[in-house]
């Protein structure tokens, strides 16, 4: 049965994880993500799961990967500096194709920065933080309710594509309590297990969708897992053809399913001649600014990606085709604006509303941006 509760984003994240089947959490305390760990430690024992506080974020990600290989859905949560430390094993999880969920409650950076201030400074690190060519699936909720929905979705995508999925939100969403309707149950996707005999099993032989079936350690399949470039038997190889094939398959797993993975909210765009591109908490401000602007006769709209990576190229291009200008509002000094420019291909004017001073971008600021442009246009 659905129920309405007043909870923080971090609590919603933990509740969603357990509802999605998460049974392992390994983490390390760091502001402003710690609330997730503090909820998981209370929820997991009752759900038959395990919680462990590791010695650092590197170890947290390693433990998560170990648990996932043992058959558990597993998660960790962190912020800024901890996210940097996790990059090593995010790459490992991509290479070894270990499903897992990483939540990064963004705070001001670089370095220790502003631990209690909101930021959107990690959106590029979420894409390119670990070394080498790799796919990335990154989701960005803008409310406590959406934290719940997208955390469930993160687990489902991770299991379906055997890849790490990152949930990115900021300190405001993490700490603010909001009324949310919690669903009585959620749709859950589980990893596909092999249907061949152990003697015939090759751990990296992909099924039709490019994703290899995955048994757990202890299931009776004995196999090797490595972060080295490997062949379909999972064993290290230095063969260039096999290397190329693996790299292509790892990336195509995501690239070939962009339509399935990408989610975008279009708000009042149908007749808009100016659009705000915003995500996460800024999407809330943008929505309100658009509503207020409409009452003033300004034809404003908003495009808000719920999936940051893969980037919604097609959806952004469609908006660029239509509007005279697109205002990219983000709480950093310009990270996704480059992607918007690339996807727009010069079809509209791109304007940045960028802020990295630890303060949120407010509805009034974006409204001013819209009204000023409107004045100038007259």
């Amino acid at each position: 049965m659905n129920r309405t509760e007043l909870i923080q984003g971090n609590e919603a994240c933990a509740l969603a994880a357990v509802a999605a089947g998460c049974r392992f959490f390994g983490g390390y305390p760091i502001t402003p993500s710690t609330g997730i760990a503090e909820q998981m430690v209370r929820l997991l024992p009752d759900a038959g799961g395990v919680f462990v506080q590791m010695e650092d974020e590197i170890a947290s990600m390693a433990a998560v990967i170990g648990a996932s290989l043992a058959g558990s859905k597993a998660m960790t949560a962190t912020s800024g500096p901890g996210f940097s430390l996790m990059q090593e094993h995010i790459g490992y999880a991509v290479m070894a194709e270990v499903p897992c969920v990483i939540v990064n409650v963004m705070r001001g950076g670089p370095s220790t920065g502003r631990p209690t201030a909101p930021s959107q400074g990690d959106v590029m690190q979420a894409r390119w933080g670990t070394h080498g060519d790799h796919p990335a699936v990154v989701l960005a909720p803008s409310s406590v309710g959406e934290v719940y929905e997208l955390t469930v979705r993160a687990f489902n995508l991770a299991e379906r594509f055997r890849t790490p999925v990152i949930v990115l939100y900021d300190e405001i969403i993490g700490h603010t309590r909001e009324s949310v309707v919690l669903p009585g149950s959620v749709d859950v996707v589980d990893r596909i297990k092999p249907d061949v005999e152990p003697e015939q099993f090759w751990p990296k032989a992909p099924a039709a969708n490019g994703v290899p079936p995955m048994p757990a350690f202890g299931d009776g399949y004995r196999f090797h897992v490595t972060g080295l470039t490997h062949d379909q038997r999972g064993f290290p190889t230095e063969d260039s053809a096999l290397t190329g094939a693996l790299m292509t398959r790892l990336n195509n797993k995501v690239d070939d399913h962009v339509d399935e993975i990408v989610q975008v909210e279009r708000f009042m765009l149908d007749d808009a001649d100016v659009a705000i591109f915003a995500y996460g908490i800024v999407g809330r401000s943008a929505r309100e600014a658009v509503q207020r602007a409409r009452t003033m006769g300004i034809k404003a709209g908003m495009i808000r990606p719920l999936t940051l990576w893969p980037f919604p190229d097609v959806q952004v291009a469609a908006v660029a085709e239509q509007v005279d200008a697109m205002i990219v509002a983000e709480m950093n000094l310009g990270q996704l604006i480059g992607e918007v420019q690339r996807a727009s291909g010069g079809r509209t004017e791109i304007v940045g509303h960028l802020r990295a001073d630890g303060e949120p971008i407010t509805p009034s600021q974006l409204l001013t941006e819209l009204t000023d442009r409107n004045e100038a246009a007259r």
Binding site: T4, E5, L6, T31, P32, P115, T116, S143, E171, I172, I173, H175, T176, R177, E178, S179, I281, R284, S285, R287, E288, Q291, P360, T362, P363, S364
Partner: protein, 183 residues
């Protein structure tokens, strides 16, 4: 849209965070949408503390306080830090013990009211822990933002069971403060 922004600010240990959370819970009990946010900092105890509640009949857009409609201030330090977001048409409720030198300019205004919130809390509990709940009573009697019954229920379930009676008393006392003043 009928968006209402309420901020309760004071010192750590005055229970302002709990009070804000309870107000938001009460709003949900009344079928409204609500958000609650608080100031975070590296200090776990002491210092200035604030609790912001946004209540709306519709889904809430921006979840933080932008232009505060009703600001409750329980000490001078909190006044200095958390007054700037008070909206142009907002109202300030201030504790009777607040040092007058910081406030004199505003005390002349018609949109400022003074109540002995902290003193009432001391009388009830011997300390300041229920000051936030007394303030909540003041907010309710003053602005009537949620159903009083829902607020009582939210207080009863929102504090540790052993402190329930004391907090319910504090809520009533806060409401009476306003009744007394208005009479």
């Amino acid at each position: 849209m009928s968006r209402n922004e309420i901020r309760i600010a004071g010192a750590g240990g005055q229970g302002v965070v709990t009070a804000g959370r309870i107000l938001a819970e009460a709003a949900i009990l009344c079928g409204r949408a609500a958000t609650h946010s608080q100031a975070y900092g590296p200090q776990a105890r002491g210092g200035a503390s604030r609790s912001d509640v946004v209540i709306d009949t519709e889904a809430i857009g921006f979840p933080l306080a932008d232009e505060v409609d009703l600001l409750v201030i329980l000490n001078s330090d909190a006044y200095l830090r958390y007054q700037p977001e008070l909206g142009e048409r907002g109202h300030l409720i201030i504790d009777g013990d607040c040092a007058p030198e910081h406030l004199s300019r505003h005390l002349c205004d018609s949109n400022v009211t003074k109540y002995p919130v902290v003193e009432k809390a001391r009388l009830l509990s011997g300390g300041q822990l229920v000051a936030g709940i007394v303030a909540l009573g003041v907010v309710q009697a003053f602005a009537n933002v949620v159903d009083t019954e829902a607020l009582r229920e939210a207080v009863a379930t929102g504090v540790p069971a052993r402190h329930k009676e004391l907090n319910l008393k504090a809520l009533e006392a806060g409401m009476q403060l306003v009744g007394g003043v208005r009479a």
